[in-house]
Amino acid sequence: MTTDTKVPAPGERFTGHGPEWRDARLDRQDAVTATVWVEQIINKRSMLTQKDRVEDVRDIMWQLEKEGEIVVHRVSDEHRPTMVKTLYGWDKKIPTTRLWHHKSCGQCGNIPGYPASLLWLMNQLDVQYLDETDQTSCTAWNYHGSGIGNLESLAAVFLRNFHQAYVSAKAQGLPEGYYYPLVHCGTSFGNYKEVRGYLLRSAKLRESVKKILAKLGRLVDGKLLIPEEVVHYSEWLHVMREKVAERQVIDCSQIRATIHPACHVYKMVPEDVVYDDTVLDGNRVAVSTGIMQTLGTQVIDYSTWYDCCGFGFRHIISEREFTRSFAIDRKIRVAQDEAHADVMIGHDTGCITTLDKNQWIGKASGRPVDVPVLADCQFAAMVCGAHPYKIVQSHWHASSTETLMEKLGIDWQAKKAEFEAYLKEVAAGRIETLYDPRRMITSGPGYKRIAPTP
């Protein structure tokens, strides 16, 4: 036992446990002994599956469609779906082509290489998609940060955006339902799944939002349109991982990778999350880990894998000391000191931003940290030969992505020089794009009809 007998003065400790709480003052070994049984149970898949309440809202969805209450946007054969297993072993259909990109405001705003890498991979794999201007944020970052918004507004935004995905192909002379929405942001993914559940369970909520959607002209045959599956891009990347690996040009077997699973991806509506017994014994969400294993990296587990990143929604703006302390002490430093990570891989907007941007300040405490942070699709694109600046846009990352590139054998200085030369072309109006820019406006000002995609 430790000899430290100091008892915190009243008000000195702020842990949320109440004033009666006293430190047990166990030394490290005794603390491990006392809590090891918890570690064997907690944060494993069984912790989630042992609960009583199990309900597949898709059962309600099919019943409501049968009763003529809603229309379901199906993942059809034309979307070439791949089946995966979720938490309880249920099937989930992941569409692999004809995808409507539901972008993320945080990704597009400050990690643009995140969506660009995803679209680049889709081009490599001949996947059809649409990236258009008729979509809004899911508004859930703001909701979770500020409390402005409500269930009705979140539901209406969800239905509006997904309706647009359903009708978007008409601008190209293609039928409704042609494109299926693919959600980029983890917060949107969690929020949309939660909202879909409430919409399916509550006739009152359906009734109130139906009036709004009618006013917007966003009903199908006078009914609400509900997606059969809410699909996150990381799930698409997961089911495409073998095909991605076929295009790999850079060996990454020496790379030690840590994964940060995103809270709103796997803790919200956990029954809809992909698990695979071949990925860390099925004890972790399979996305990201699956692609990193398939690409040949060494995925290293670490003790705080389940912790959030510290983003906090409002905290990253107005409680920044919390955000950076949590990001460094509970995630980055653990990945660095415990896992000796060469990279931390994520699959959500706020996490990548938080973990990437909040490392530099560690120098202020005299204990610097240095772990490159990328999204799974950025890493995958990079080892498949995507340009680290023109496509992966690594210059928007504050963490040391250059260190990672050196370990991968990429001459980042030469690539950066190429990009700087390209910027002169850009300034002169000679811009390279991943798709025909005319396709991005599907209605309203600026719309011009173009021929259907072959």
Partner: protein, 247 residues
């Protein structure tokens, strides 16, 4: 001698006085607003005070905040405690839902916090006004454009603790944005180009769902600025639609 009230006393009452901070009727109204949300019974199913939620809570590491306490206050219908928690504690939650993932009862303390935050805004509580002040630019951007974050928000001056590497290539923001190979992202004031029709549709949702009224309660100036911007956008869209009909 009578002392001027502190800010805490002003908003939550005198901590050593037996007198409630607000009347019983108001406390009941606040609780009723929380309890009547259709999500309430889904998020709260019981509590044995096991504390597994607080043990894993990131905010409990740093703040006087405990998800177990929030659940207990609601479960026992401790109206004064609920009101007190709404003055500050509920804003500490990082909304990670680790508590919900762990709770053996299937409670969602993080989800319950959201209901309490919504009600704090509805009642114009000072805590909500304080929290939303730094959010005003995000709110303006979100409600008027449909995007919450834009490239021009991220600057070395705005985020000095992020260090000098926010952008590792020295070039004007507009050029860097045009060098992104997605044409929808060639913007600096929004994360992506948002169709005019789309932002007007979103504004209609804000109006119809009472969100604009909530905003008015918290920040009338911001509400008025947004209203002016959106009136102009609606006019612009109307004009375009009229032109189409004429053509």
């Amino acid at each position: 001698m009578e002392h001027a009230g502190t800010r805490v006393q002003q908003y939550i009452g005198d901590p050593v006085s037996d007198a409630p901070p607000v009347g019983r009727a108001k406390l009941e109204e606040i609780f009723s607003d929380i309890q009547s949300d259709m999500r309430y019974d889904h998020e709260l199913n019981g509590c044995l005070n096991c504390g597994i939620c607080t043990a894993t809570c990131p905010s409990a590491h740093y703040y006087d905040y405990s998800p177990r306490e929030i659940v207990q206050l609601l479960w026992t219908e401790n109206l004064e405690g609920i009101y007190d928690a709404m003055q500050e504690k509920i804003w500490a939650c990082a909304q990670c839902y680790t508590c919900a993932a762990r709770c053996p009862f299937g409670n969602s303390p993080g989800g319950l916090v959201m209901l309490m935050r919504e009600v704090a805004i509805k009642h114009g509580m000072e805590s909500a006004k304080n929290v939303l002040r730094p959010f005003s630019r995000v709110m303006l951007k979100l409600i008027s454009t449909g995007n919450q974050l834009s490239p021009d928000m991220i600057s070395k001056d705005g985020f000095p603790d992020w260090g000098p590497n926010i952008s590792k290539v020295d070039a004007p923001l507009a050029t860097l944005r045009k060098a992104i190979p997605m044409p929808t992202l060639h913007t600096t004031k929004t994360a992506w180009e948002v169709n005019l029709k789309t932002s007007v549709e979103l504004y209609t949702i804000w109006e119809e769902t009472g969100v604009l009224e909530s905003l008015k309660t918290i920040d009338k100036n911001l509400h008025d600025v947004i209203s002016d911007i959106m009136d102009e956008k609606r006019d612009e869209l109307e004009e375009w639609l009229e032109e189409q009909e004429e053509d």
